[in-house]
Amino acid sequence: MHSSTAWLARPFRERATQLFLGILLAALATVTLLNLALPAGHPLHISTYTVTLLGKYLSYALLAVAVDLVWGYLGILSLGHGAFFALGGYAMGMYLMRQIGDRGTYGDPVLPDFMVFLDWDSLPWYWLGFDMAWFAFVMVLLAPGLLALVFGFLAFRSRVTGVYLSIITQALTFALMLAFFRNEMGFGGNNGLTDFKELLGFDLRSDATRLGLFLATGIALALGYVLCRAIVASKLGRVCVATRDAEARTRFLGYRVERFQLFVFVVSAMLAGVAGALYVPQVGIINPGEFSPIFSIEIVLWVALGGRATLYGAVIGAILVNYAKTVFTGVMPDAWLFALGGLFVLVTVLLPKGISGLLAYRLTPRRLQREPADPSSPHREAST
């Protein structure tokens, strides 16, 4: 293995990562099978509606993993990751709008409906290029990445950390929400972007495309998870943990702490962007509501419920909370926020390490809970 890529292969040798990937791939295969092989009336049949719902959960799970990377391992509590998610979503949405072509209500071959409605006669410059899939997909990474780079550069250079950083990330996503609400911004204002027809030539309303999007989201989650594990298990990951716990000491050892923070923050923002881009074609709409500060706080709650600094905890938290939200808002919609708040209080009091903390305790053999860890285990593979 070449030395510059060996760090990427490291997670595949970890038992926990193998287990996670195994469960995820098995779940993807099972859902596919139950959706395709069983007739619609069968009790175990999974409808396409449910498949899309699960796909939405998986994109949330990827978003939660991105938040856990910066919060759990770097100690940066971002309350604005919804902004990166939404930017990735808008980049995808712009591509899908351009794919509509002349099939919109007004039939304009180039301009999306809302621009015709606003009497615009040409595309704004920032919409150029979004008719090409590759360009849009690059922007899915670049738009959130650039925002995180500029924002993080200013924040970390000035050594803004802790609660102050959390507050300005809230301000960031709130400011973007207000901006995107304006019609003059050219992103559809209040209504956002919707009425999508095709993605890469596949009809978005067909069952096969919906299953494909679900599978693509699952694979993106698997890849994002492996990337985060690789970062966390590298020496850079240990520098992150050191920064989280004793920033001044880490700086004293000769590490340029603000650069490490910026690097990981940008990676996390790009992952959030990918999650947003996979979310949009499945729910069929992107609007400024995704920038709302409440949504960004909710993401943090998923991670807290699942358990910080484990990555898989973030996945469990995101899926469980959103499943509960779907069920709850169906039964009694008004009570959902109370239920979420109550759940958060309960977990904080009873399970300070979240659901994953409980899992780790149950799965660890009794012997290891008391005895020192096997001295050869964590570093045995590090030199290979």
Binding site: V239, T250, G254, F260
Partner: protein, 281 residues
Amino acid sequence: MNLLHSLADRDRVFDFLVPATSPVDVRHGPILYLEDVTVSFDGFKAIDELNLTIDDGELRCIIGPNGAGKTTMMDIITGKTRPDRGSVWFGSRHDLLAMNEPQIASLGIGRKFQKPTVFEALTVFENLELAMAADKRILPTLTARLTGEFRDRIDEVLATIGLSELRQRPAGILSHGQKQWLEIGMLLMQRPRLLLVDEPVAGMTEQEMERTAELLTGLAGKGKQSVVVVEHDMGFVRSIARTVTVLHQGSVLAEGSMDQVSGDPRVVEVYLGVDPDEEAA
């Protein structure tokens, strides 16, 4: 022709290409040399014409009452404080007053502060790994792999500080004394030539103190490190010191073996005041 061949030979490493791991020139004896150093804060002379010489491989203890200038002296050596007058040399080649803090640290002067700070969530091994002298930019850190050489170095330091058994335990579970040793180990990972150690045994148990005394005396030596210890505990100083320097009002009051120093009537008057053995109790 032979000469040309030897120049083209890729196996050979020319002297000037070898990274200078230890550029300090100690052929003339001392590794640290302070001459007529004076520094004042708002008119108060914290250091007053201080002269101090530390030989290569020496273990030196510095004692003195509060306000004698011990910490200020450390600050001057590490570049944190600029003196008003005087000169400070590291070996006979490096003028420390012309350098900033990171440059001085990379020359091989390590300082251990009084309060230990280790990374509690990381293991003892990982704490040493992070402290290792290595390329500390982002990508080299991301792709870094532990080579056998680095692993040997960590093992060596683990053995020196007596924490080999605890290598895979999180540093958070260590006792206060063990954290102090780990911190000394983290300094050693950077292969320093001179160690400045500020009150290493404050808050330690009797056994931990003995162990620390062994550790510090073992570290000092020709070809190894020179060690300067600032300490209040007279019993501890007596157990490790070959040479003791007594600071008083920013300059050297007395210098010599512990017996010589504690017999000096001026020292007894200004610092020890009472019988030194009683002070230790």
